[in-house]
C-alpha cells in the first residue's frame, strides 16, 4: 500500500466528488430523488464500463470537448432555473414552496427524465475525471490499487455527507432552492465550459467558490431589480396614457 498515493488521490478526487455530489443532491432536492438517483447509478454504470474497457488508456480520453458540451448544457439549463427563480421569488417572496410543495411545473408523478439526465451528466463527467486522476496518480507511482482505494474512500465519505445533508436541504423553501440550485448549475457550467475551451481560471478549482458567489450575488440583486421593474412598469404605462375626461393626475 502506497500511503502517499492514497492520500494524494483522496484529496484530488475529493474536489471532483464534491461537484458530483452537489449536483445530485441539488437535482434530487429540487426535482425528484428517483430520477436523480437513477441518473447517478446510470452514470456510475457507464463509468464502470468505460474503466473496464479502456483501463489505463483512459488517460488518452480527450476531456476538453466533453467539458465544453456538458458545461454548455448545464449552463443553459441552470440559467433557466435562475430566471424562473428570480421571477417567482420577486413575485411571491422567498417562503413559497416549503416542504413537499412542487415548484417545477414539468415534474409530474412519472419518472423525471430531466433530473435523470442532469445527474447522469454530472456523475459521468466528474466520475471520468476521478478515473483519470486514479490512473494518472496510480500509473505514475505503480500503485493503481492505492489510488483506487483513495478515490473510493473519497466517494464514500463525501457521498455519505451529501446523503446526510438531504434533510437540511429539504427544509429550504423550494423557490429559494430553485434559485440557488440554478446558480450552482450555472457556476459548474461556466467553469467546465471555460476549462474545456482552454480559458484558465485564476485560482484554478478555487474559482468555483468566487464564481458561485458572483452568480448568487447577481441573482439576489436581480430579485430586487425585477421587483422594482414590476412596480415601475405600470407607473410608466400610466404616465404614457392620455388623460381622459373626468380623470386627473
Amino acid at each position: 500500500m502506497n500511503t502517499a498515493v492514497l492520500i494524494s488521490t483522496f484529496l484530488a478526487a475529493s474536489i471532483e466528488v464534491i461537484e458530483m455530489v452537489a449536483i445530485v443532491v441539488a437535482v434530487g432536492a429540487t426535482r425528484q430523488w428517483r430520477g436523480a438517483l437513477a441518473g447517478t447509478l446510470a452514470g456510475l454504470l457507464v463509468l464502470a464500463v468505460l474503466i473496464a474497457a479502456l483501463g489505463t488508456a483512459l488517460q488518452r480520453v480527450p476531456l476538453s470537448p466533453i467539458r465544453v458540451v456538458v458545461g454548455a448544457l448545464l449552463l443553459t439549463f441552470g440559467l433557466q432555473w435562475v430566471r424562473k427563480g428570480v421571477r417567482s421569488v420577486s413575485r411571491d417572496g422567498w417562503t413559497t414552496g416549503i416542504g413537499e410543495q412542487q415548484v417545477e411545473e414539468d415534474v409530474g408523478d412519472g419518472f423525471d427524465w430531466t433530473g435523470f439526465l442532469l445527474a447522469f451528466r454530472g456523475v459521468s463527467l466528474e466520475g471520468l475525471e476521478i478515473a483519470v486522476i486514479v490512473v494518472a496518480f496510480g500509473a505514475a507511482n505503480h500503485a493503481i490499487a492505492s489510488a483506487a482505494i483513495g478515490a473510493a474512500a473519497s466517494v464514500l465519505l463525501i457521498g455519505a455527507l451529501g446523503a446526510a445533508s438531504y434533510r437540511l436541504v429539504a427544509r429550504i423553501p423550494r423557490r429559494a432552492l430553485q434559485l440557488f440550485v440554478g446558480a450552482l448549475l450555472t457556476t459548474f457550467g461556466t467553469f467546465w465550459a471555460n476549462e474545456g475551451l482552454g480559458a484558465d481560471w485564476p485560482g484554478g478549482d478555487l474559482a468555483l467558490l468566487w464564481l458561485g458567489a458572483f452568480y448568487i450575488a447577481a441573482a439576489l440583486v436581480l430579485v430586487r431589480v425585477v421587483s422594482y421593474w414590476r412596480q415601475g412598469t405600470p407607473r410608466r404605462l400610466r404616465a404614457a396614457e392620455p388623460l381622459t375626461e373626468g380623470r386627473s393626475r
Partner: protein, 71 residues
Amino acid sequence: MMLWNRTRKVVTWWVVTFVTGDDWTVAAAVGAGLLATWGLVRSGVPAWWLLPLVVLGATVSSLYRAVLRER
C-alpha cells in the same frame, strides 16, 4: 414514420428542456460567448472573464423582456 416522429419529439423535448427553455436568445448568447471565448483563447488572450459577463448580460436582458411581457 413512427420512429421518425418519436425521435423528433424526443429531440424537440431535449432541446427545449436543456438548451432554449422559454427564451432562446439566452442560449444563443451563451453559444456566441463560447465561440468568442474560444477565439480569444486561440489568439492567446486570457478570456475567463467573458463567459460570466455574457451570462449576466443575457440574463438581465431576458428578465427585463419577461417583465415587459407580463404587462
